[in-house]
């Protein structure tokens, strides 16, 4: 377990202004993920001071259109989280470029259904690793997942997230019959809510992995069946699905972060590996304050694997 450099929290404020006022610290390069490995980087917005110069420096990394999008948001909290989300994406991706790509220079485009993708520019001396990434945020946690070559989807929710309507009402409206039956059979409301949140994040992760999003792949078209005993959830497409072109070869993983958040990850399976065990996902997780502090937390109690991970 490699623990990268840390600065004590109480020194953070002055340290930030000293360091960032001279040159921007290069991000320590990170080796590319292995096959079937997911790298997850996350920020806790509460760890970054609202009115710090740090946020302004992060803002400098954003493209003009990203800056406009941030300014159009209502309220400081939303603006801060939007800045952090863009910063996390840009800094995370640049880590895998051997120190040669400035986070602010990365360009993005949208896929057919609007999924953000990297658009590598032609240029000398630029390596262009085939990175796949996906972002998810709640107000209290922002996460960016990275994989090599294989499309990936991630969704994060607060574990104790309340819904205004009952979870069964939402499930009946949006989930499949078998998923509703599964939830309805759970006698304890707390556990039922927990299972609902897990199913929700898994389904979101799937539609994001295949690049379609919620409106491009309505949830009623596919069922996710929770595995037992730490085995990965499985997915099948509903017989009466009217949605064409849904991938049915995806691998899922579920974990808890900080005992406060549920994280679901979805990645297409490797067709060449028939063994389920070997198709299991491996995971590395870092908590980060970009350009300031990185902490590898996988293997610690911060990350609690629920299922689908080797």
């Amino acid at each position: 377990m490699l623990r990268l450099f840390r600065i004590r929290r109480d020194m953070l404020g002055s340290a930030v202004s000293r360091r960032l006022s001279t040159t921007r610290s290069p991000l320590p390069p990170t080796p590319l993920p292995h096959r079937r490995e997911v790298h997850l980087w996350y920020i806790k917005p509460e760890e970054i001071n609202d009115s710090s110069s740090q946020l302004k420096h992060y803002m400098d990394l954003l493209s003009p259109s990203e800056k406009r999008d941030v300014s159009s948001l209502s309220g400081e909290r939303l603006q801060k989280n939007a800045i952090l989300a863009r910063t996390l994406t840009r800094t995370t991706l640049s880590r895998y470029c051997d120190g040669r790509v400035d986070p602010g220079s990365i360009k993005f485009r949208k896929g057919l259904y609007g999924k953000p993708e990297i658009m590598w520019q032609d240029g000398d001396n630029i390596i262009k690793p085939p990175l796949q990434f996906n972002l998810s945020h709640t107000s209290s946690l922002i996460a960016c997942a990275v994989a090599l070559e294989t499309p990936i989807g991630i969704d994060v929710e607060e574990k104790k997230r309340q819904t205004v309507k009952s979870v069964l009402a939402v499930a009946r409206r949006y989930f499949t019959v078998s998923e509703v039956e599964y939830l309805a059979a759970i006698p304890y409301p707390d556990i039922q809510r927990k299972e609902f949140i897990q199913l929700w994040t898994l389904k979101e992760a799937y539609v994001k992995a295949i690049g379609r999003g919620f409106s491009g792949a309505p949830f009623k078209n596919f069922t996710i069946v929770m595995g037992s005993d730490k085995r990965a959830p499985k997915m099948h497409i509903e017989a009466d699905s009217d949605c064409e072109g849904l991938a049915d070869n995806c691998q899922f993983a579920l974990m808890e972060l900080n005992s406060s958040h549920v994280v679901a990850v979805c990645m297409e399976r490797d067709q060449e590996i028939s063994d389920d065990e070997k198709n299991s996902l491996r995971l590395k997780v870092w908590r980060t304050i970009p350009l300031i502090e990185d902490e590898l937390v996988s293997g610690t109690e911060t990350v609690n694997y629920i299922c689908g991970l080797s």
Binding site: S72, E157, V170, R173, E204, S215
Partner: protein, 148 residues
């Protein structure tokens, strides 16, 4: 004389003859005024967008405010995007469910990408409500109004 740009509101009132209509290159048209009533004529080649009823917009804003627990100081406008107000995917589906209940409609998922703002949600609601078969007794004051 009032000038409006290409996307304009067509009022439900009957069309009167206007004194002077011109359609410029940039599709600006002038409306004639008669007895202080603004009348409008639609040109086929102009794209007409029907704005939602104010009461629908108000109702959607109420639903959104409640779902996202917005304070009074958060500026909520018809153009407000749900995502900009901090709604995540679960918030959005609950907002849609509330709208479905409130107005007695069903919003298909592939429509959900078209309702990113309060305004768009209200427009879709009005469209779906108008397309509903006649209900025997309705609480709301829906008149049989031809849709745009």
């Amino acid at each position: 004389m009032a000038s409006v740009s290409a996307t304009f509101v067509s009022f439900g009132c009957s069309f009167n003859q206007t004194k002077c209509i011109t359609a410029g290159k940039n599709c600006t048209i002038s409306l004639g005024m008669r007895n202080h009533t603004l009348t409008a004529v639609r040109f086929p080649r102009l794209r007409v967008s029907c704005l939602a009823k104010p009461e629908t917009v108000t109702k959607v804003m109420e639903i959104v405010k409640k779902q996202l627990a917005l304070n009074d100081d958060v500026p909520l406008k018809p153009e407000s995007k749900f995502s900009e107000l901090g709604a995540d995917s679960l918030d959005t589906v609950e907002i849609v469910m509330n709208m479905e209940e409130e107005f007695g409609i069903t919003v298909e998922e592939d429509n959900s990408q078209n309702i990113t703002t309060v305004q768009e949600a209200a427009e879709l609601i009005d469209k779906l409500v108008a397309a509903k078969p006649e209900q025997p007794a309705s609480e709301s004051e829906q008149k049989s109004e031809a849709t745009a």
